[in-house]
């Protein structure tokens, strides 16, 4: 596994983890410290949390700042334009993340 790939698949310290909220100040109790954990939580967290963070641009910001995965961040930014919501939004976010991680594991870092 090359260095870039390890970097993207790393687990970050608690203070750099992503904390899922459903609205201002309302924390769901779920947090992700790695991309794999992020994917897992996206799959079952309250969907309001996905709507809240996606349309604020929080996912892009975290992915860029913590993992430097611009390509993935850009895909989520484009998804924001679609105005999707509910379970449909969840399944799009999930599939974007899942395929990114799959590509990463198969071919190395793609950012």
């Amino acid at each position: 596994m090359d260095t870039e790939k390890i970097e993207v698949l790393k687990t970050v310290p608690r203070d750099k983890a992503f904390y899922f909220f459903t609205s201002i100040g309302n924390y769901t109790g779920r947090s992700a410290a790695s991309l794999e954990e992020f994917l897992q939580i996206v799959g079952d967290v309250n969907v309001k949390s996905l709507e809240f963070h996606l349309y604020r641009g929080d996912f892009e910001k975290w992915l860029n700042e913590v993992f430097g995965v611009q390509e993935l961040a850009e895909e989520l930014r484009k998804l924001r334009m679609s105005n999707l919501s509910g379970e449909q939004l969840r399944s799009y976010i999930y599939s974007i993340l899942e395929s990114y991680l799959k590509r990463l594991k198969e071919h190395g870092a793609q950012h």
Binding site: Y19, F21, I24, G25, Y27
Partner: protein, 176 residues
């Protein structure tokens, strides 16, 4: 007036002095004395004693932040915690100047209730996400932003109907 170890038994005069101070802490000893029909030296002695016993904790000013031009929102947070960590979390919250009141409450789950002030909704969210959610033992947080204040007073120490009839024992806190 009787002192038992670190407790001070307050009599009706003490209670009336406290109520006068709660109404307006800038009143002089003479003004309070005149109002209650006692000597200003008595008022002085009793206030000093109540200060020494920590019954009077401090004298402060109630500010209308909006009129003072401060950009500010207030919110009440209910923080559900792991019981093993709740004490530590509550103590940590007390360290932040943005958090002005912290309480613990025992209901179905152990909760911490805290009042927080921030410049705007975004900075409130940022603060909670950055400093409170990551604390070890925080299970989830519910935050209610206060939209309108209808009343803010401190209730009187005793019901006016019973005032002066019974003494009130207050434990003092020597750790001031």
């Amino acid at each position: 007036m009787k002192i038992k170890s670190n407790s001070l038994i307050l009599d009706p005069v003490d209670l009336k002095i406290l109520e006068a101070l709660m109404e307006d802490a800038r009143q002089t000893y003479t003004m309070i004395g005149k109002r209650l029909g006692i000597a200003h030296s008595t008022v002085y002695d009793r206030i000093k004693r109540m200060e020494e016993h920590g019954i009077i904790k401090k004298y402060t000013t109630l500010i209308d932040r909006e009129k003072a031009g401060a950009k500010c929102i207030t919110a009440v947070m209910t923080i559900y915690t792991d019981p093993k960590e709740s004490e530590k979390i509550a103590e940590k919250l007390c360290e932040y100047p943005q958090i002005c009141e912290v309480y613990t409450s025992l209901s179905e789950e152990l909760q911490i209730i805290a009042k927080i002030m921030a410049e705007d909704q975004e900075s409130l969210h940022e603060f909670i996400a950055k400093f409170i959610a990551p604390l070890q033992g925080v299970l989830r947080i519910r935050t209610s932003i206060i939209t309108k204040k209808f009343k803010e007073t401190i209730p009187p120490l005793v019901n006016n109907n019973n005032a002066g009839e019974s003494a009130l024992a207050v434990k003092s806190d020597k750790r001031r």
